[in-house]
Amino acid sequence: MALRIIPRLDIKGPNLVKGIHLEGLRVLGKPERFARHYYENGADELLYMDTVASLYGRNGLLDLISRTAQEVFIPLTVGGGIRSLADIRAALNAGADKVSINTAAIRRPEFIREAARQFGSSTIVVSIEAIRRPDGNYEAYTDNGRGPTGVSALNWAKQAAELGAGELLVTAIHQEGTGRGFDLELTRSIATAVSIPVIACGGAGKVEHVGDVIEKGQADAVCVASLLHYHCFEELCSSSEDYSAEGNTDFLALRSRFSRVQSTTISAIKTEVHRRGYAVRMWESPQVTGEVMFR
């Protein structure tokens, strides 16, 4: 099986955003344009994460899922604020393939079992957001790393797997957005303790970090955001004259101050993973082959 590279798109309202250190969330532009760019350039799946957990309110993000699913033919996972079976059904009906659940699952673990029974395990991704404590253990957090739970991330991972989660999305909050690399110990401890796939998330600053979390962290899939968004943003700006007006152009200026994160492509990441001896699905450019129909 190929190692999966999954661009993560943080959504706020109609926009793709990305936190940069303590600068807060920056608007990068329309998520569906990034999504399509990643699809056309070899992404294996996509993850939409609603940063304000309002996906199932009236802000039109279900429409965003629908628009994305009409032109992106790879699996789409949607998370952020999923609280009920009805929320899951709404996301799936809009065109999502899987949902990612954190807070609601920690509050009531049986929710995982109910969701897996109703929609199938392969639809249910349990998101574990962990912070490393001074004693070296990891604690699971809720609400984008704002709510401590007192629950051991490792024990919670095992329990979530037993309850029927199909995959675990493991994010090291303390690494997220820093560009310092993944928390290899967190990823490895969970990946070796459960029999379901583990998706590592949070901290990639260069392609080697992705290779490391696969090789040393034993991740089955890797989520990347900043690593790709900068490059994609520049590509979209150069390919479309009106694009720069959509996104926050301060962003490019900021990027130069944020030199910890490399600007790279999915292809470069896959080349690195392949170099380390892992199977990847190499991307193909529809523009080059000219064989693929896009509307």
Binding site: G95, S122, V292
Partner: protein, 233 residues
């Protein structure tokens, strides 16, 4: 106009299948209505979930005989994921269940260990390469099958815990690997096709399989779509 009916029996992501059909300009209807299914030029049988539930759901809606009748008419039928498994004679998922029996074979659990004893993760989730089966002359190619536009070794997206074991090897079009275990991941018998993977989630290459299916539907419609003949029967 050729139309493909996507069987709606309460299971599966019909939305993404419909999007993929639209992308290759194949008009669809999503339906569980007997006459609309039997009037269609092609049929897609989706499915996510458990085999027994799916067969029970098809039976409740009176669709088992309808699908069999459709297949017997010679028009193209594509089963995807669980939909492929339903084409088989029987399944051992949570007990023993009878399938549509359009392709002789059974459905069994994927192994969770390699021959050397190491673990293989089940469900199998992710991208796996598919290969044609060697013919009598040891040629390996998808030529002449519904996977004709696909190259040997192309990656497709899989999500499953069970797999098909067809009795007649000539119905196996493609195999894939689960750890070190090879299994049939695409089958074809005349115009009955099945893919264990999700072509609608397998990127541009997957869409080419929908194109191939659309071509089969267009080709078959003048012959298969004979209303009078069916009414007479």
């Amino acid at each position: 106009m050729t139309t493909v009916a996507i069987v709606d029996y309460g299971l599966g992501n019909l939305f993404s299948i419909r999007n993929a059909c639209e992308n290759v300009a194949l008009p669809t209807i999503v339906t569980s209505d007997r006459s609309r299914i039997l009037d269609a030029n092609g049929l897609i049988l989706p499915g996510v979930g458990a085999f027994g539930d799916a067969m029970a759901s098809l039976q409740e809606r009176g669709l088992v005989d309808v699908i069999r009748e459709f297949a017997a008419s010679g028009r193209p039928l594509l089963g995807i994921c669980l939909g492929m498994q339903l084409l088989m004679s029987e399944s051992y998922e949570f007990g023993h269940h009878t399938g549509l029996n359009l392709i002789h074979g059974k459905v069994v659990h994927l192994p969770s260990r390699r021959s050397n004893g190491s673990d293989i993760k089940v469900p199998k989730v992710g991208w796996s390469s598919i290969s044609p089966v060697s013919d009598a002359l040891s040629r390996r190619s998808f030529a002449g099958t519904f996977l004709e536009p696909i190259n040997d070794g192309e990656y497709m997206y899989f999500v499953h815990s069970y797999h098909c074991v067809p009795v007649d090897q000539s119905t196996v079009v493609a195999t894939s690997m689960h750890g070190d275990y090879p299994f049939a991941c695409a089958v074809q018998k005349e115009r009955v096709y099945g893919c264990q993977f999700h072509p609608e989630k397998s990127g541009p290459r997957g869409l080419k399989i929908y194109q191939s299916f659309a071509a089969a539907v267009a080709q078959a419609s003048p012959h298969g779509h004979v209303l009078g003949a069916r009414c007479a029967a």
